[in-house]
Symmetry: C2
Subunit: 346 residues, 2 copies
């Protein structure tokens, strides 16, 4: 969006949004002059506001009400008015460090905690998505005999994700068979991403089944089955807190948001659509392709492992959120996670 506003208009837009973030009532011209000590009279402000409305940055709920920011207004605010220097949120960093660093846990635990911490500091919803199969590098695969006719497959990746699955031991593999298969799989696939392994397996099996000896064939079949269900986990926390916000005094909105939370599938879809660039991204209201979230804003960022985007961390809240502090929270959390995985992967 081009930077089309003069300084004075920017200030007014800023004041309106600031006031609206503070308190979701339509903002009047008189209030702006008083609260933000403008040098102009309410009448002048009214003219400016009328211009801003013409340009689509503000709107009126009804003729004789004050103005409310539009999505376009928020967008302009985020891009051109907000302070560029978004700092690191030290409080969040301290909290995360104290919560997560001491006992070394797996990724799901860390992400759940991060999501909760983001939720509690922002008072909105915390969101975290674990690394998907695309970028996760296999560290180790372990086959453990389990009960008479089953095998527990445990997959460990570089990020510390542990997935497990119990599969049927239809081929009656013995304990030592399993040992051999594990060794083979580890030798063959360690260091590849889950996605690569999947593709590789699909191809191998298609190409020529007879090419390999029996044990190897079994290994591949096992591995395929275990990797089949490998996907991202989504953590969304903080519903209770968000219900205190005045915009959720309306049942319909609560329903929408709780549906969004339960249907984590939609979130993954959203994230797939959105994650192309790195850094913190801001999705405001109707910019969101998921229509259920058109009344919400989403601030997300990828976090990296070895400079490769792994998963996503973010905050979901009302459109009138305190963008600068939320962006700083998300930025901080993303850096924290990236650093954590950097260290962990050494």
């Amino acid at each position: 969006m081009e930077d089309v506003l003069d300084e004075r208009s920017k200030k007014v837009l800023w004041a309106v949004i600031q006031s609206y973030i503070d308190n979701p009532d339509p903002v009047g011209s008189r209030y702006v002059t008083k609260k933000y000590a403008f040098q102009y009279s309410p009448a002048t402000i009214r003219n400016i506001m009328a211009d801003l409305e013409d340009m689509g940055f503000l709107s009126q709920p009804h003729t004789s009400a004050g103005r409310v920011p539009t999505d376009k207004g928020y967008r302009y605010y985020v891009e051109h008015i907000l302070e560029e220097k978004i700092g690191i949120n030290e409080g969040l960093l301290d909290l995360l460090t104290s919560k997560v660093s001491d006992p070394i846990e797996d990724v799901d635990f860390i992400l759940d905690e991060t999501s909760k911490t983001l939720a509690s500091l922002s008072r909105y919803l915390g969101l975290a998505v674990s690394p998907g199969p695309e970028g996760s590098i296999l560290r180790r695969i372990e086959l453990v005999p389990y009960k008479e006719d089953r095998i527990a497959v445990v997959i460990l990746t570089d990020e510390g994700v542990i997935k497990h699955k119990i599969i049927k031991n239809e081929m009656a593999l013995t304990s030592s068979d399993l040992q051999k298969i594990s060794n083979y799989l580890n030798r063959e696939f360690k260091g590849y991403t889950i996605k690569q392994i999947r593709e590789h397996l699909a191809e191998e099996l298609r190409r020529d089944k007879e090419m390999y000896d029996n044990l190897m064939e079994r290994s591949l079949a096992l591995c395929r089955e275990a990797l089949y269900t490998y996907g991202s986990n989504v953590f969304i926390t903080g519903l209770t807190r968000i219900l205190d916000l005045p915009e959720f005094s309306n049942i319909e909105k609560i329903k929408k948001i709780s549906k969004t939370i339960e249907d984590k599938h939609a979130i993954i879809k959203l994230i797939d659509k959105i994650i192309d660039s790195r850094g913190v991204q801001v999705i405001i209201g109707s910019e969101n392709p998921v229509s259920e979230m058109n009344e919400l804003s989403v601030i997300i960022s990828t976090y990296n492992e070895h400079d490769r985007p792994a998963g996503v961390i973010g905050i979901i809240g009302p459109k009138r959120m305190d963008y600068s502090s939320v962006i700083s929270l998300v930025e901080t959390a993303a850096r924290f996670l990236s650093k954590m995985f950097e260290e962990g992967g050494k």
Copy 2:
């Protein structure tokens, strides 16, 4: 509660509750005679209702309104009026079988699915709690070297619960050390419950540290650390659906219930308090020791593994729920799970 009512009063109480379950408006005398084709006039019904109110089974929101069942009324209804023959819900059984049986999954997946299915059939909240450390029997413990200085501990229990934890390898154990330790732990503790092992470990370590050789000491320390976090998982699903009920048109109630859902700790406490007898239990409104749930009813049942209560399955809903069908759903789910673990444990 004693069976203190004559047939006629029972019928009236039944009619009031039935009507109230159908539609949460206070029930009037005229409505009862019409809808349920009573042989008496509204005036007679009024007299009976006044008696029921004196006994505490009904109450009036205000002088000129109809009656509403009290918790005591529901309790009497459940104990003395409800059909005793609670059948198995075939639809649920079919659904569960199709969802859960085919791929052999671990307990957490099965419980999550069961909870979702209960939620969708009842239109209330589905609840499932995985087996805790008390009764879970260790099947296998596996130590896998993970990255340079860490070990992944994987614990498999009889029910198919898999817990994993990553711990620091502070003692610089080699891969073959780990192998030896696993072997030792499996030999020593297989067949014991997690709780027993915990207690055993605590005692061993307290008694005499020098009594054992170095490796064994290390094993025990590792094992202790890994078992430390072993606890029940709680699955609660179906929030979206429950918001459609008229009793949750009130924000305060939504807040309460969402708090209850997020604070799974409270649920575990509730369940600990309540689970003394087997079979389906009904907790109505204020009977619930957790005060946040005083406007809700909870129907729960334990499910067994080898005739030993393992975890809990249930439904949480408004007090005016259709008790007979909900009880039947919970009963069916509990039997299904018990059977599933019976087979799985063979």
